[in-house]
Symmetry: C2
Subunit: 116 residues, 2 copies
Amino acid sequence: MEQTSAIAALSALAHPGRLEAFRLLVRAGAEGMAAGDIARETGALPNTLSSNLNILGAAGLVKSERRGRSIVYFAAYDRMGALLAFLMEDCCAGNAEICAPAVEAAGRAACAQGTC
Amino acid sequence: MEQTSAIAALSALAHPGRLEAFRLLVRAGAEGMAAGDIARETGALPNTLSSNLNILGAAGLVKSERRGRSIVYFAAYDRMGALLAFLMEDCCAGNAEICAPAVEAAGRAACAQGTC
DNA sequence: TCTATATTTCAAGTATTCCAGAACTATCGA
DNA sequence: TCGATAGTTCTGGAATACTTGAAATATAGA
C-alpha cells in the first residue's frame, strides 16, 4: 500500500461516525449489514451515513451490494489488513517495541475467538 | 486507548507532511531529530512544520525536548503501539484474517532489524 | 400501476483545516 | 550587550470537510 492510499484510509477512519460504522461492519462479518441497520445502530441520519459510507468506500475499506431494497455493506478485510501492514512496516521498521503491543493485541483477539 | 484518542492519532497521521515527519522520527529512534532537520529533510516551511509537530504532539505521537537552540522531537513509541493495538483489537475481534498480514509485516520488520 | 420502503444525490450553510507571511521568543557566541 | 540562529505563535484567506433538508432513484408488493 502506498502513502496516498494509506492516508485516504487513515482519514476515513479518523471520524467517530465512520469508525463506528466500520467497526460494526467488521463485527458483522461476511453477512454484512444493511445501510439502514447501520444508521439505526449508530443513530446517524441516513443521508449522513450514506455519505460517510461513500468515503469509507472510496478509501477501499468497505464494499457494498444491493440486496432487494437494501444495500448491504461489508468491511474490506484485505484493505484493512494492508493498512495495518503499512503502519507496521512503516513504523516498526526501526523499533520492534512499537509492534509488540500490537502483536499481543492480535494474539488476544485470536484467543478471544478461539483460534489460538 | 479510547476512541477519542485513537481518532486524534488517526487524523494526525492522515496528512502527508505529518506522516512523513513521524516516519522520520521513528527511524531516528532514541536520538530524535531537531525540528530544523525535519524541515530540511521533508522540505516543509519551519512554521508549517511546527504546527504539524504540534498536532502530532497533541495526539501524543511525538514528544519534544529543548537542546540548546534546537528543539529535538521523538516518536512516542508507546502511543503508536497503543494505536496499533486499538486497531487490531477493534478490527480483528471477529476476523483473524485482518490481523494476519499485519502480524506478518511485523515479523518481516523484526527480521529486517535482526530480532527474529 | 400505485404506494411504501430503502437509500442516494444534490445544494447550501457552517465549521474546520491548511498554509504562508510576519512578528515574537529563546539560546548561543563574540 | 548585540547579532545570528532555531523555533514558535499569530494572523488571515483559501480550501476542504461535515451536516442537514429536500428531492431523486430503485425496488417490492398490493
